[in-house]
Symmetry: C2
Subunit: 188 residues, 2 copies
């Protein structure tokens, strides 16, 4: 197998794992994954030492997807209403991602592959939020970024755990408070 | 068995379940509980239809404990520094509760016995927070209370999931932002 084919198979295995998660399998086995990808049962082991390694790669993919969604929302918000709108749009995009990919979202924050263990991808995703917060609140960027992240993560897990039904609706005034109170964004 | 003895056994079973959770059993069975309480294997069924019913009672107990901790923190904060200090003290007490009782805290927000399903006890616990927020931010109490709750819940689950190591230290500037930005508390 060439290097390019190897890289492609690794990507395909992660694709399949994301799809299996989306279909309701909480933790697809390497065997199930091999079957779904149409490769031999041993093939996944050339790319992942064990299931945890695969799940970390899947979590990393999740953070890439989240980062892309946040970037798109930020750009759309900037175009539509400026930096305050961009921050609020990121908040809505974050919550929408968690609700669209509940199993993947839980995996991304699970013990064995917590955000801390997928630094490049999770760092990029949170960098999108961090950059917007830093531009709006340069004097207090670190605490304000953590405050924003904690709040949307809290809303997201409450929505996934059924603690809150109408997270989309409830989130609107909360995100406005976040933008005005925590980040203190310009009102343009 | 007298009515008082029945009530006492129910309380004891919940006590034992809380203790079993604290000792690392993720979901104690009614059988294990009966053994721990020194009663017959069938005795728990006189009080709980099934394990879910027991777990809901345990979650309710957790919210009672949380409510008591929040109340004590609020009173201490008021005495020490006024209402802004009381709000911040509640935040620290909330995070301390989650870290001291990780399995119980997770159970309290788990799907099958989410906060929404233990309304009297969870309502009382969040009432302690809600009252303080309402006194500080009467015009925007509902959104501000949800914002505070989402933020401390987000910090708590990030701490339990190992996403953040030093939640106690990181929480300080975040709770200050919450008090000044979201709730806008007096500085006394």
């Amino acid at each position: 197998m060439t290097e390019a084919e190897t890289a492609t198979l690794r990507q395909r295995l992660v694709d399949e794992a994301v799809a299996l998660l989306a279909s309701g399998e909480t933790a697809p086995s390497l065997r199930a994954l091999a079957r779904a990808a149409g490769v031999s049962a041993m093939a996944p082991y050339r790319h992942f030492a064990d299931k945890d390694a695969l799940m970390q790669a899947v979590a990393g993919r999740g953070f890439e997807m989240l980062g892309a969604d946040l970037t798109a929302a930020d750009e759309a918000g900037m175009a539509a209403g400026g930096s305050r709108a961009a921050l609020i749009a990121q908040g809505h995009a974050y919550l929408a991602f968690a609700r669209a990919h509940p199993a993947l979202y839980r995996l991304m924050f699970a013990d064995h592959c917590a955000a801390a263990q997928t630094p490049p991808a999770s760092g990029r995703a949170f960098g999108v939020l961090g950059l917007r917060v830093t531009l709006l609140a340069p004097d207090n960027a670190q605490a304000a970024t953590l405050a924003c992240w904690a709040m949307v993560h809290g809303l997201a897990v409450m929505a996934l755990d059924g603690v809150m039904d109408d997270v989309g609706e409830s989130a609107e005034p909360v995100l406005a408070l976040l933008a005005d109170g925590i980040v203190g964004g310009e009102r343009t």
